[in-house]
Subunit: 170 residues, 2 copies
DNA sequence: TCTAATCAGTTCCAAAAAAGAACCGATAAG
DNA sequence: CTTATCGGTTCTTTTTTGGAACTGATTAGA
């Protein structure tokens, strides 16, 4: 498989990674969530080359994650804003940040705190089941092939399904 | 900023991306969560080059996300297994898959279903606040600089903080 | 015994992507 | 008239991938 075919894979993770799965995109989006909107501000903050930045922003606009919004005429200047689709990546960001806080932080602790406006407290994100509301960890989930699955290569059936009841640890 | 300096940034997202933020790593991890453990099986399923695969697996072992476990002697063969630290990336995977299900799926719907063992239902992941248990979306969160923050360049203060009460949409 | 197969890589070369710097075009400011 | 701002594009060099072949320890089969 080549990287460009990623968005045609029968796997939602692959398809999401086709949008955000390269070196700089998630950092661009982090800054979007921090309120950055303009080309030169992204550049200053990220230190990415202008070339790559322009490319990533274009891709994010194509996928509907960001939208270009004019903020002045003459000369026309546009800024990049998260769309609803982009805002929905927030839980991805929270999950990534939370893992980093737990496993990659130094002595000083988390660099950024998230305050939940609803309750006013400093929060961590917790992933729960949509059906019963209980927290969900890796071992609490079983995987099943759904309707969108198609076995293109004949070999993609996940080993854990093939193995059936073989649920030792992974 | 260069990619290699990413894990020294005062940002948990950067540091997480230093581990999982390149082109193939999250796909390798997806397969780990599906039960794949051996080099040649990763290769067959991902279609990544052996060169890159070897590199990514080595990095994941160095960061403690995977562990090499011998499964036979003579010749010595080792397989890759998720550590606890690796298993904790599950909520990242769920968040990415869920976004893909919502925004990148075709007519056939989600390729894979997640069954919550606790309640037996097909589930979606929901991100809630650790303090009050309410669901959290992007607009429900305010960001605050924490102890781990250090302003190396003098310019990294997030615009949303600088702007203070300027909470129009992002 | 000879040959092929398995598995987990490594090595080599060509192609693609990223880094770094300079340039461009419209406009405004001094 | 010159410089600055903003949002890019173009150019060259370096790094990373893609693709294929090779390695080394061992087992299986003819």
């Amino acid at each position: 498989m080549r990287w460009e075919e990623l968005d045609q894979q029968p796997c939602s993770l692959s398809r999401t990674l086709a949008v955000v799965g390269d070196r700089w995109t998630l950092l661009v989006l982090r800054d979007c969530f921090l309120g950055v909107r303009r080309f030169d501000e992204f550049e200053k903050r990220l230190g990415v080359t202008r070339h790559v930045l322009a490319d990533r922003l274009k891709k994010l606009v194509e996928y509907g994650v960001l939208a270009k919004v004019p903020y002045q005429q003459r000369p026309l200047r546009e800024e990049y804003r998260l769309t609803e689709r982009g805002l929905e990546l927030h839980s991805v960001m929270l999950a990534l940040v939370s893992w980093g806080d737990r496993h990659m932080a130094d002595e000083r602790g988390a660099p950024i705190r998230h305050i939940h406006k609803g309750c006013g407290q400093v929060m961590r994100p917790v992933t729960v089941c949509s059906e019963c509301g209980e927290p969900v960890a890796a071992r609490d989930v079983q995987i099943e092939v759904g309707d969108g699955w198609q076995d293109a290569t004949g070999e993609l059936i996940p080993p854990r399904l093939a193995r059936q009841a073989g649920n030792q640890d992974r």
